[in-house]
Symmetry: D4
Subunit: 149 residues, 8 copies
């Protein structure tokens, strides 16, 4: 069994690296969005031409990023969505909704302070974790049946 995992959400901490390095010995492939914030915001106009209006500037970028995001989510067996402490992160919750409707196994990763506002998102998940290391342990258990410790 090989698992394809998409790592969605927060881009300001190293949680993706913790998971990919922790799972380096497992039969897992990882995809994720472009995590360079500036490139992600400007990709539309940088490639397809400038826009005077900030709304369409953002729109063109969001559309180009959607090519990668959709591919990553549609190909995944498991979608992990991380909610951090900053920003609105509505795109993370949007990805979780897409993944749920597509029947993906969903793992939500957040601190306990976000449990109440994320209750509907968590309710669609097969696991709710607080630490990236727990996601690694889930992947290890799913693939090998081994538990930590």
């Amino acid at each position: 069994m090989t698992l394809r995992v998409y790592l969605s959400g927060e881009i300001h901490t190293d949680w993706r690296e913790q998971i990919t390095s922790g799972a380096a010995d497992l039969d897992v492939s990882f995809d994720s969005p472009v995590t360079d914030h500036d490139a992600s915001d400007d990709c539309g106009v940088a490639i397809l031409g400038a826009e005077d209006n900030k709304y369409w500037h953002d729109h063109k970028g969001a559309m180009v990023n959607a090519i990668r995001t959709r591919k990553g989510i549609e190909d995944a067996d498991i979608v992990v969505v991380r909610f951090g402490d900053q920003y609105k992160q509505w795109n993370a919750a949007f990805d979780a909704g897409m993944a749920s409707a597509l029947g993906k196994s969903l793992i939500i990763l957040h601190g306990p302070q976000h449990a109440h506002p994320l209750k509907e998102v968590d309710a669609a998940a097969l696991a709710v974790a607080e630490e990236p290391s727990q996601v690694v342990e889930i992947l290890r258990y799913v693939l090998t049946g081994k538990l930590p410790g």
Copy 2:
């Protein structure tokens, strides 16, 4: 042509009433989540039994609410999602993601101050409006071909 519309998101202003009363003369049926905040939070334990742990209290409620939410979104032709100024509103973005993956026509309703953090959600929409009256005008145009004014 009859349209089924699901009104998702913010529950603290009267935007739903503005839309349903504005569209009262149109061939539209509306569904929405339970908008009584307390009932929505407590429905799981009120019906299925108390939980000591707040997480499971919330979880049982979110699961029961999902019965209504999923039915409403799956039956809809159009899903309108309103983002207000308060709270995290991750459930609204989650509904938008589900609706998008299910191929629903999506209308997003929010003030201009939220345009940047909602750019990925807006990019999945067929219309982005600021006022409930604009949603009514869209419904009127889609059903009758009449424009405002």
Copy 3:
């Protein structure tokens, strides 16, 4: 919103009547399997001809019953599956698996003594209840937003 509900599982108590009479004032339609045990066992041979071999006797009946069961589950918004104290009830668990794979909202109804062996089935449900009256309360809340008491 109108709900279609399929009532699967145990056929030796009056739980279906408790639900349908309790929900008589709600906009719900109910379907269920044939609950006459003898008719259900013998329908295949009674209509399509006798079989010497008990296995094929049972098989012909199970196939004819599947016409009704599949229609009921596929048309339903909500599938309620009741596990009682007698018999193997593998057909109830099979119906729950079908309903889950078809994306139906699943409500499981059983006594606490069955919680451990039903944990995988319960994990696919949006609500786990012990009493038929709780199912009625869920239907009432989903349709009207009213909680008991």
Copy 4:
């Protein structure tokens, strides 16, 4: 032609080993649930944190196990479900229902004493066998056209 086979159900005898060793010369890959009973029961709390309430202890484990089970069933061409003599085995019947709704080729494996209570499950199958060796012979015939003896 390569076949992917998921082996669901009873975990207390060596039937999986009989099939995988018997089919070792065939172009088949096998998946199965975690068959270590204790690990399977405790995986949720071992990774995601302890629960006071046995119901939620079980629930967290069942959810984590579902990541593997769903992946295995969804990727399979053939799902074999084995019913033994002990326990309720509702999860086995649930897997069979999922597999059937997903259009998988279903092979059910059980002793003759279970034929009557399994008649609805058997009716959804393309083969009903009593011995693991018969499953191997089916795989061999499907891949090579060779019959036993």
Copy 5:
């Protein structure tokens, strides 16, 4: 429960009338192909213009008939396919294959002399009957739980 039934296959005996009149008291709606053999053969050229080549004459008619056939099969809960004693009847078997792939409940109706060449078609069915009256009895049982006699 209302059943939609599509009656496919042989057009030279009154089996459809036997079923529809026998089921007149049941909540069933019936569809069927155009059973006027000449109209069915010539509909394409009669409406869309003559063809010199017999192959294209037939082709245009078969395409127009497919509009009705596909609608009838796609809308049906149950597809009944009757094989008679004359002609190749490959279109009947084709309809059965379509119905099976679409997940319809399939009832096959034929005399015992055709059992061997129809074994693959029968294997996809939930009931195999010899007489139209048996189809009526199945519909009655599925809808009411009543057995004959």
Copy 6:
């Protein structure tokens, strides 16, 4: 049998009226795009606010029109697409491609001068007609089995 028909394409002649009046005695419901050219071009900015850039002016309108177009095509049993002598009509061919991928019965309506450039579109159709009256005759035949003359 009731047919839902979507009439896509050319908006500068009265072909829709010819079909709807010709089929007035049949059990058919018709949908179509907004055929007021100016309203169709300007609906986006008229409702959602002006755009300086003509591209985004057009884009907002096309998105709002898509709400109606998608609903009409998705609900249809039959999609009729008319190609006239003027304009590029790429939206008509786009609708035909959508309808084909969604498995709708496709009828293409065009003069003989367009047969070569429409060969790929015609190849996806169940009927290719030159006159609106032929579409009426197809609908009549599909519903009643009656041929013209």
Copy 7:
């Protein structure tokens, strides 16, 4: 581009060998049913135990063969169905119906004497050929753009 092709239908001439050897230089993989007539008829009872009743003898074999047939058709890009001069060949037409409903590209192979009774089947095909060599030429053209001669 790699093509997966399933070769269904007549098993008494060497048409499959003509196609597979003719296409030996192309990037195509072929699957087919078991073409050993006796093995195909008896596989059910040979593996799963004898049946007194010929109907169930046939039934068990047809079910086991369906494991291979469904896998072959579901995995195919192109399904070729050959109709010969002998036997009823209803299973061939059934396979064509399944392939059509699953959206496969269908190529039908038969002599001109069968054109009229196969008109509905041919109408679902993208090519109708008389000779196996024409199927090879289609595969060559689809993969390389090269025409014969």
Copy 8:
């Protein structure tokens, strides 16, 4: 992440070569229709036999080409559709409609003079480009996160 890209539309300039050579260092595989105009027009009759009637000549060719086109579009993650200055190009718009209904990421490539008549097609796209080099830059960004310059 590997991307499969289908290049549909205009066949009279070297835009495909510009994209495939520009993306030669990326993990992308490309498919396209047969771009030899004469072979594409005549493939049906060259392989399957001559037709007196030009309509059926074209039809047979369009059907054979559809085998390749459908496979290319269905397997693609991204469908690029190029509109040039000549011909009706309805097949290009038809491919775009199919790709959109199948949920593919759509990139439309055309000069500014075609923006108005392509507004409905562009509205279904995630990117609208004028130059093949922009398509290469999108592919590079989607796969590597690198922007030009």
